[in-house]
């Protein structure tokens, strides 16, 4: 024991310079964490521009180098690879020698490192339980790295050999890592697996074992190098095996989830999609991408679910094998959380009350996102046959919660279960492209990779989207989501323990509503932080009904009008006139080329052709012999092209072609208009009804509604409830038998969906308000009018959609055909009135001015 301390003191003296550097790094790290040194300038735009902090990076790099170098120096001083080590023939036992080294590392490397963080964390007010858990986890990560460093060093006799070996090994690892990127399942994210820990421990253990054996057998350099390569290979194979050595609770369902085992995975046929992505080879095989939009009944409004596919199989009737591209490549779900955002607005609405107006920009609000089921290579010959898709899915369920609400005043702070929030400051930035309010927030939180809770993992750019930031002004009852947030991580020591994070949400104030506040009044705003918490995971198997691949292949519009410039009528007619018109008896190819050229011109014209335009008649004469060319063109062209085609078919189709047109309905629902106009609805009724299975398009819904068949009410209502919109409402509200249910559906929709205003220069009226107005809900008019009144007066005339929405739902005396599109006149008239001036007139289906 005396010799152990004697050797310890000797090592201490030998490595005093390195230890001094290590101490400096630890103090610098603590200083950075506590903000003594180079606290990030959150007022500057540098954070927005993503500049990293020099000192934080330098301390991190140098600290890690010292962390690995000092143990190496300690080993090299008495390397077991040497046969002439000074102590080999001195009366120093291995126990004392190695005991002294271990004591050195524990007392002078590990302990200070852990204590340094503990000081900071306790100072930050984190609960002792988290701190202890974090300390243990930190040690869990430190030990294998130390073992690796010491084991590797123990293989070499002196510093020169060690340096050469290290450089070679690092080069080898770089090459290996590059190659490993091409190996499936070689991801190193600790987020959902304990395999990286296992990899480190196994590698460190084997390297230490190799060093011990080398001490015994004195192998050559080549043998030692081969041993290291073998270790790397063995460890990597273990890394790739689907074996978890630590209990990763991630996939263990939360009790709340476990209690909801009744969640069935419902996928309506219309929520099953196949997309042809590209033709991959000379055989003409088609690459298909499959996805579904799963429904979860009774999913609470504040929950979101992120589906991912573990495995999929496309099984054709013919038994012909289909190649699945992506088997075994399940995405790391937690890297993609942003895809399932949406429910946060509802949670915020509930938190702030119904009078709050919530503004977002470029947002999307749906509680789930379609789940990709992988890509398949399908031979063209299989397209007409029947197939079935079988998939295993994983659904990760989250719940949005309001984490904290803080006045935007520098120095204000609060703690939650995971750590501390603090407002560092806020700035109202003007100019340089856009105006915005930038709020600097510090988040000190525990980051435990063994906790099983993603909220406790380290904050890094992919997972920091677990937060959403909102500025709320209680005076105007306006809430605004941040458009973007900058993330700066100050974690000294990697991502394994307790990061100090700086989040800088940026709120765009270049809106038509003006700034929420100026620099003097920023303090009246509140910053609300919403957090998405992981609840659990469910696993489901889904099997599609038998379907025909060909029915699902979509072709997109040729998109000739991308420039958004209309072709003049003169040029259109000149070019059209220059095209050689095929005779009715011409070949299919000639007609196809002509139709293609015509549709390009129509798309470029981008306007509905007059009823008496000669083109309709020219095309109509071609329909009797070439109907299938016209039908094929329908889904491939834009609205204006479809209009021309369906008018040509209406005019030219023969009675004998009735059956052919009805049969083509599933592929081109636009034909429903032809069927209606030609009076073939009764005959097409079974086919029209069958469309509900895949979703009825706007073109076919009026045809279905025409029957006023109570048997189809539930399906129509279900379709409306899935995506409520005014177009479908206008059709369905004409069905008297559906009135009660429709009223309930509209009220539910209005009550439950947040009135989120997506504003990007132009106010887009939320569907909940539009449908509410159509249905005559006074509160919808009040809210819509409020939106209008919030816009500054000079800008109101520019809000076309908002004005149109009010115009279409209000009886405006004196409105003529001319001033109907005069937004200046309309804005003036609307501004002269208030929501309370109107009442709903059910007979007219709109709001009218109350009698004075």
């Amino acid at each position: 024991m005396n010799l152990l301390w004697h050797q310890f003191r000797c090592d201490l003296r030998a490595n005093r310079l390195a230890l001094m550097a290590w101490s400096v790094m630890l103090f610098l790290g603590l200083g950075l964490n506590l903000g003594w040194i180079e606290a990030p300038d959150h007022h500057a735009k540098t954070l927005l521009e993503g500049d990293s902090n020099f000192w934080a990076t330098a301390v991190l790099v140098v600290g890690w180098l010292l962390f690995l170098l000092i143990p190496a120096l300690l080993v090299l001083a008495n390397s077991p690879a040497k046969t002439d080590s000074f102590l080999d023939t001195r009366p120093m036992s291995k126990r004392d020698l190695y005991g002294a080294k271990v004591l050195f590392i524990v007392l002078l490397i590990v302990l200070p490192m852990v204590l340094q963080e503990m000081v900071y964390l306790r100072g930050s007010g984190l609960a002792a339980g988290w701190v202890v858990h974090g300390m243990l986890e930190r040690v869990m990560w430190i030990l294998p790295w130390l073992g690796l460093s010491m084991g590797f060093t123990a293989l070499w006799r002196n510093g020169r050999e060690w340096t050469a070996a290290l450089v070679t090994a690092l080069a080898g690892v770089a090459v290996f890592s590059t190659v490993a990127n091409f190996i499936p399942n070689s991801g190193m994210g600790m987020g959902s697996s304990s395999r990286p820990v296992m990899f480190l421990y196994v590698t460190a253990g084997l390297v230490l074992m190799l060093a011990a054996l080398n001490h015994r057998f004195r192998w050559s350099v080549v043998k030692r190098a081969v041993g290291l390569v073998l270790i790397l290979v063995v460890s990597t194979v273990l890394l790739m095996l689907p074996v978890e050595v630590l209990p990763v609770k991630r996939h263990a369902p939360d009790p709340m989830i476990a209690a909801r085992t009744e969640f069935p995975l419902k996928v309506r046929p219309r929520d099953f999609y196949l997309f042809c992505t590209y033709v991959t080879n000379s055989d003409g095989d088609i690459s298909l991408q499959a996805s579904i939009n799963p429904q979860l009944d009774k999913l609470p409004r504040d929950w979101v679910i992120d589906w991912s596919c573990r495995d999929s199989e496309l099984v054709p009737d013919s038994g012909h094998p289909v190649l699945f591209h992506e088997r075994g490549r399940e995405f790391n779900i937690f890297q993609w959380q942003y895809q399932v955002d949406g429910a946060e607005a509802g949670v915020l609405s509930k938190f702030l009350g119904p009078e709050a107006l919530i503004f977002i920009q470029n947002g999307m609000f749906q509680p789930y996102w379609s789940a990709g089921l992988g890509r398949f290579l399908v031979p063209v010959s299989l397209l007409p046959g029947k197939s079935v898709l079988k998939s295993d899915l994983t659904g990760n369920i989250f719940r949005w919660e309001v984490a904290v609400s803080l006045p935007v005043v520098a120095g204000k702070s609060t703690t939650d279960a995971y750590g501390r929030w603090a407002i560092l400051g806020a700035t109202n930035l003007n100019g340089e492209g856009w105006r915005c309010i930038q709020v600097a927030v510090e988040r000190d939180q525990v980051a435990l990779s063994t906790s099983g809770d993603p909220a406790m993992e380290s904050l890094s750019p992919p997972t920091c989207c677990q937060f959403k930031f909102v500025l709320y002004d209680e005076n105007s009852r306006r809430a605004q989501f941040s458009e973007q947030q900058t993330f700066v991580n100050f974690n000294i020591g990697g991502e394994t323990s307790f990061p100090r994070n700086f989040l800088v949400p940026v709120f765009n104030t270049s809106t038509i509503y003006g700034a929420l506040a100026d620099n003097r009044t920023l303090g009246r705003l509140k910053l609300i932080v919403l957090q998405k918490k992981y609840l659990g995971t469910i696993h489901r198997h889904w099997e599609s009904p038998a379907f025909t691949l060909a029915d699902y292949l979509n072709t997109s519009s040729s998109g000739n009008n991308m420039k958004n410039e209309q072709m003049s009528p003169l040029e259109f007619n000149q070019r059209l006139g220059a095209l050689p018109v095929p005779l009715p008896g011409s070949s299919r190819l000639e007609v196809g080329i002509y139709l293609n050229d015509v549709l390009r011109l129509v798309e470029a014209r981008a306007e509905r052709l007059p009823d008496n335009h000669a083109l309709i008649g020219q095309l109509a004469v071609l329909v009797p012999k070439h109907l299938e060319v016209f039908v094929a063109g329908l889904p491939a062209t834009s609205f204006f092209g479809q209009d021309v085609l369906h008018r040509a078919i209406v005019q030219g189709a023969l009675e004998s072609q009735r059956g052919e047109i009805i049969a083509a309905l599933p592929k081109a629902q636009e034909l429903a208009r032809v069927i209606a106009k030609r009076g073939w609805l009764e005959e097409a009724r079974p086919t029209l009804n069958s469309l509900f299975d895949r979703g009825v398009s706007g073109a076919a819904l009026p045809a279905n509604a025409w029957f006023d068949d109570p048997a189809t009410y539930p399906k129509m209502l279900e379709q409306f409830q899935a995506y409520p919109n005014t177009y479908e409402y206008d059709i369905l509200h004409l069905l008297p038998g559906l009135a009660t249910n429709l009223d309930q559906a509209v009220r539910d929709f209005y009550d439950q969906w947040p009135k989120v205003i997506d504003e990007n220069g132009q106010v887009r009226v939320p569907q909940a308000l539009s449908v509410g107005l159509r249905h005559g809900l006074p509160e919808a008019l009040t809210e819509t009018y409020r939106m209008f009144e919030l816009v500054s007066a000079p800008k109101r005339r520019d809000q076309g959609q908002l004005i149109n929405t009010l115009r279409d739902n209000l009886e405006i005396p004196g409105m003529t055909r001319k001033n109907r599109a005069d937004y200046g006149w309309l804005a003036t008239w609307l501004a002269a009135h208030r929501a309370k001036d109107f009442q709903y007139d059910a007979a007219r289906g709109r709001f009218v001015l109350k009698p004075t």
Partner: protein
């Protein structure tokens, strides 16, 4: 007397190279044994095996009555080992080095160490890495002698030392061994280095022991013989095997008698060279003996 080192049938190979091939050797207590051999003969490997730095493939080694494989801290408190290849903690000063070594040895004699330091003229405040090679060897030797070991093992201790330092080193070592009665086992590839030191000699060649004897008996049985002939003749057949390196030059025959007995030499000379004068047998230095042996064994470098 119990030998301090006893090696029996030692074998050690490195991959395909046979370093030691059935070596048998005894080092009596109190003796200074020179372990001689050319470079690559197996001297260092033998020493590393006996100090448990290498594991023998076969055979046994007993050091101070203990199996070499089990030599531990207790045994090393009685053994001193100085090697030309041994690394010293260069960052320490001479004094720090001695302070570092001292706690490892309960028998460390501080006064003796101070006396040695003075005798070796070692600068206490100079770092080991700044010392010359000779001074480093002296420091290493001092750190190995200050605890009065029972066995001193020196592996090529004089290699690369300039003659003056080597002489000082040897003189110091001689005085100490005489005073303390230590057993010394010193390897070298140069007989001159150890000639004054050794009272026993062992010669190893290609991993095999060729000779092991005290210097005294060795010098007693070796003679350089010259025989003057009256007429020129060639070397006769049937010469005794103990006559080494016999050669004839004109009317003079020269050889080394490795089993010298005066009357037997005279009789054999008279029988083989009838017309010659009586032989002249002169004593040989150890170096001359080794040169003769070297020529016989083809021991290059001796």
């Amino acid at each position: 007397m119990t030998p301090v080192i006893e090696i029996q049938n030692l074998k050690k190979t490195f991959r395909k190279t046979v370093a030691i091939d059935g070596l048998n050797l005894q080092v009596p207590a109190g003796s200074v044994t020179a372990f001689l051999g050319p470079n690559g003969a197996g001297k260092t490997t033998t020493i590393k095996c006996l100090l448990n730095l290498h594991s023998p493939d076969a055979g046994t080694i007993t050091v101070l009555g203990q199996d070499s494989r089990k030599l531990g801290p207790a045994a090393f408190q009685k053994i001193a080992y100085v090697s030309e290849n041994q690394e010293l903690p260069g960052w320490m000063t001479v004094q720090q080095f001695f302070d570092y070594c001292r706690p490892m040895y309960p028998d460390w004699d501080k006064a003796f160490a101070a006396k040695l330091a003075k005798q070796f003229d070692l600068p206490p405040n100079t770092k080991l890495k700044s010392l010359s090679r000779g001074m480093k060897m002296k420091a290493s030797l001092l750190s190995s002698l200050a605890y009065r070991p029972r066995l001193v093992v020196l592996d090529e201790p004089f290699s690369g030392l300039d003659p003056l330092v080597r002489d000082e080193f040897i003189r110091g070592l001689l005085e100490l061994t005489e005073e303390e009665g230590w057993s010394v086992f010193v390897s070298s590839h140069d007989i001159e280095e150890v000639e004054r030191l050794a009272d026993r000699v062992a010669i190893i060649h290609q991993g095999r022991l060729q000779l092991e004897e005290s210097s005294q008996t060795l010098q007693a049985r070796f003679r350089s013989v010259e025989v003057a002939l009256t007429t020129e003749m060639t070397l006769p057949s049937g010469m005794p095997s103990a006559w080494l390196n016999a050669e004839i030059s004109g009317r003079m025959v020269r050889f080394t008698d490795s089993a010298y007995v005066e009357h037997r030499l005279a009789g054999e000379v008279a029988r083989l060279f009838p017309n010659s004068a009586p032989p002249h047998a002169g004593p040989m230095t150890l170096r001359e003996i080794f040169v003769a042996l070297a020529r016989t064994y083809r021991l290059n470098g001796l």
